[in-house]
């Protein structure tokens, strides 16, 4: 028992279930770096590092939100459409004027929070399966976007484009924003009651409820935060594109990509186990793979295939490890 205590004390926050992604990231960097070098390029040049981090930022912010939805035993398939919608809300409200930046940001946050609220209410009060509920809400938004917009609309003032293009050394501002969102959520999970209740709800809804957790509220709140993350990503994309784009979310595949990043990071799809640190690793891993393929100029079909293989392999490894630990647990009981 004493070694157990020691191990529990030494355990680094969040690295417990998710450490698999870091070696994978190292391997990807080494193998990818070598391949790119053989091809005559460099994966670690300033320009490619910057574009890599930038790519990570947008997906990362969404994936952090997705992480808590999945941790809570839920899921959000509407994020891609929320991104498109909020990029439009931002750009149209700003309409090129500096003075409207702040109101636009606030409006985006309100809109995305309301969408999250709807998701949460559908799931908890009407007991609709999260997959169906969020897909439905997503399609509703999609319908609205297709009805109302043929192409990009609105415009973002230069002052707001700093978010998309400024850097601190080699680190893009947007990446810092991603880091800040991730850190905030990490801290929430670790040190707030809500965070503890969220993990408990995902671990076992009945146990959480019987222990006095108001699981409905937890789930609703989680969906609001997840949607807010998507809204922030929408803001970022609007600042990058200089306008709102009705298909930017869906074309970027932010729904499935964010889920992939979460799973790569070791968060269990059934909920209750995992964390934000792993997701950061998962996001970086996907960004590196992307970066490598872009530099090698491989065709996109092959690229998709490799990503698929990586994700399936990761899930298989995690499943295997999970089974081993649960076997060990049962053996310990005997």
């Amino acid at each position: 028992m004493s070694t157990e205590t020691l191990r529990a004390r030494l355990r680094l926050p969040g690295l417990d279930a998710t450490n698999g992604v870091w070696p994978a990231l190292a391997v990807a960097l080494i193998v990818g770096g070598t391949l790119v070098a053989l091809d005559g390029g460099s994966l670690f040049s300033e320009s490619s590092t910057i574009s890599l981090l930038q790519r990570a930022a947008g997906l990362g912010i969404v994936a952090v939100g997705q992480t808590i939805a999945i941790l809570a035993g839920s899921l959000d398939l509407s994020v891609a459409y929320v991104i498109s919608l909020t990029s439009l809300v931002a750009a149209e409200t700003m309409a090129g004027s500096d003075g409207m930046v702040l109101p636009a940001i606030l409006l985006v946050l309100v809109v995305s929070a309301v969408i999250g609220l709807v998701n949460g209410l559908l799931i908890t009060k009407l007991r609709i399966n999260a997959f169906i509920a969020t897909l439905g809400v997503g399609l509703l938004i999609k319908g609205y976007l297709e009805q109302g917009y043929a192409g990009p609309a609105g415009s973002v003032p230069v002052s707001f484009q700093h978010l998309g293009y400024d850097r601190l050394g080699p680190v893009p501002l947007s990446f810092l924003l991603f880091a800040a969102v991730a850190a905030a959520v990490w801290f929430t999970l670790r040190s707030t009651r809500y965070g503890h209740h969220l993990i408990a709800t995902g671990g076992d809804l009945d146990v959480a409820r019987l222990s006095g957790v108001r699981t409905d509220r937890v789930l609703i709140r989680t969906h609001v935060i997840c949607s807010l993350c998507a809204g922030i990503a929408g803001l970022y994309l609007a600042s990058r594109l200089g306008a709102g784009a009705p298909r930017v979310g869906a074309e970027g595949g932010y729904d499935l990509e964010s889920i992939a990043a979460v799973v790569l990071g070791g968060t269990v799809l059934a909920g209750g186990r995992g964390g934000v640190t792993g997701t950061v690793g998962g996001v970086l891993l996907l960004a590196v793979i992307d970066g490598v393929f872009n530099q090698l100029e491989v065709d996109s079909f092959f690229k998709q295939m490799v990503r698929g293989v990586v994700i399936v392999a990761a899930v298989a490894v995690y499943a295997l490890r999970l089974r081993r630990t649960s076997d060990r647990r049962k053996a310990a009981v005997a």
Binding site: H197, G203, L210, G272, A331, A334
Partner: protein
């Protein structure tokens, strides 16, 4: 024994509850006084757990009222019950294996410091509470999934205590405890009683009911049959109230000495990480009892034979033929069945029907079309034989009472007509009436030529059922005893106080 305070802590009047139109509780009254242990007994499915869940805010009653210290209350959520000082240890497992002991104990009530969860306080309080129940081996930082069943039960108890409850409900708290841990629980219950806490105690073990309680309420088919002082009750009257008929529980007749058939299962120096090399012979037609304390390697032995944690060394023979069983599937195909002790955790497809669950093992190893009709008929007969109370064989198994779920699993394995049957605590959580039926069934299987290995912590059952008793200690066989050995002899071997002359380890 009843403390003379006329104001009950908890008063339930005319409580009724129906699920999907099926009446589960009807006009039930119950009073619990401070410092009283009030036992609640009844057959599987009588409604005990449902009543307890109403008292703890999990279910809302359709009829009736609840009063706490004279004031009417409604408990719309478990949280409301907690706030009112009602703690409950559920019959089902109620912990998160992925979270630490402290996180589980304080789930829903995490201590705060400047608005944030105060881990240090949480760990300190948990350690205190654990020490308070005499359990110092568990660190608050340990993940619950790493603890054994008994230790997890201690955590459940501590979790309920952390509330500072005035009313503590225990729904079959000893179902997963070994003998010496039960003693620990007794002490705990008495200590809480002295602090003036009212305790509602659900159990199928009448010994516990008579040892602990001051008053007893008997439920049958959702109605209160009677409430009486324990001093006025006898086990016989109690059983009559519960079952509604006279029940003299004699164990079925053992096999005639020397009548056991050929050796079915033989182990020759078979061992693995958890078991020192074991020599054992199990004959067709006999019931071999395995005694020992929790953790002595009894379950490890069954798991090894069944191929979950297979043997690494030595040999295993089935009907004289050496076999290697590396997975449960191979074991099932070789004609071995295993009824595990943790039937809730390992055995059920919760959202499937009773019938599907009962047919699971057969379907897994036989083609679908194989003797389909016959299969279904046998299973139906078996479900009847073990007295499963369900709305029908099509009902989802999650809605069955705890004891009835166990009976379905039992039926599942019996339906396999196995050559070798491994039972791990076959009647744990099962009511007195059905217990006798299961004992008869086990004996009948042996008489039909199966070889039965039965692990049991209940000494009367172990001694009453077995043709031979093998006692284990520290992962090895401590000795063997003949049929009808005394409880002292079994405990002596199990604890190491005595050594056997027959088969030295």
């Amino acid at each position: 024994m009843q403390p003379d305070s006329d104001q009950p802590l908890l008063r339930m009047r005319g409580v009724g509850k129906a699920f999907f139109g099926v009446r589960v509780l009807d006009d039930v009254d119950l009073d619990l006084h401070p410092g009283q242990v009030h036992a609640l007994v009844g057959e599987n499915g009588a409604g005990k757990s449902t009543l307890m869940k109403i008292a703890s805010g999990v279910y809302q009653p359709d009829a009736g009222t609840l009063e706490l210290s004279g004031k009417p209350v409604t408990l719309p959520h478990p949280r409301a019950a907690q706030a009112a000082g009602i703690g409950i240890i559920h019959q089902e497992f109620n912990l998160l294996p992925e979270r630490t002991v402290a996180e589980n104990v304080f789930l829903g009530r995490e201590p705060l410091r400047r608005g944030l969860v105060d881990r240090r306080a949480m760990h300190a309080r948990t350690a205190e509470l654990l020490a308070g129940v005499g359990e110092t081996a568990i660190a608050p930082q340990t993940r619950v999934g790493r603890l054994g069943v008994a230790q997890q039960q201690v955590v459940e108890i501590v979790k309920a205590l952390a509330l500072d409850a005035r009313v503590l409900i225990m729904d079959e708290p000893t179902a997963s405890l070994a003998e010496h841990e039960v003693e620990l629980l007794y002490n705990l219950v008495r200590r809480l009683q002295q602090r003036g806490i009212g305790i509602l105690y659900v159990s199928h073990r009448l010994t516990e009911v008579f040892d602990l309680s001051g008053r007893i309420t008997v439920l049958k088919d959702g109605r209160r049959v009677t409430t009486l002082d324990t001093a006025e009750a006898t086990p016989d009257t109690l059983v009559r109230h519960m079952v509604g008929r006279e029940l003299s529980h004699y164990f079925p007749e053992r096999a005639a000495p020397g009548s056991a058939g050929a050796a079915r299962l033989q182990l020759a120096a078979a061992g693995n990480g958890r078991l020192r090399p074991v020599d054992l012979e199990l004959r067709s037609g006999e019931v071999l009892g395995i005694g020992g304390l929790q953790g002595s390697g009894r379950s490890a032995l069954a798991r090894a034979v069944f191929g979950i944690d297979g043997f690494r060394t030595g040999q295993m023979l089935l009907d004289g033929v050496p076999v290697r069983v590396r997975s449960p599937r191979q074991a099932v195909r070789a004609g071995i069945a295993y009824v595990t002790e943790d039937r809730k955790g390992e055995g059920l497809a919760l959202s499937q029907s009773v019938l599907d669950n009962a047919l699971l093992a057969q379907r897994a190893v036989q083609p679908r079309w194989f003797a389909r009709a016959a299969r279904t008929t046998t299973v139906r007969e078996l479900l009847d034989a073990v007295e499963v109370h369900a709305a029908g064989t099509g009902q989802e198994i999650r809605y069955l009472s705890g004891g009835n779920q166990q009976k379905v699993i039992l039926a599942r394995w019996l339906a396999m007509k196995p050559r070798v049957l491994l039972f791990d605590e076959p009647t744990r959580g099962i009511d007195v009436g059905a217990k006798a039926a299961i004992h008869d069934l086990i004996r009948r299987l042996a008489d039909d030529g199966a070889a039965v290995l039965m692990i049991s912590s209940e000494l009367p059952e172990l001694i009453g059922m077995s043709d031979r008793i093998v006692v284990m200690r520290d992962g090895a066989i401590a000795g063997e005893l003949p049929a009808g050995a005394s409880e002292e002899a079994v405990m002596g071997l199990a604890t190491g106080a005595a050594t056997s002359t027959e088969v030295p380890a």
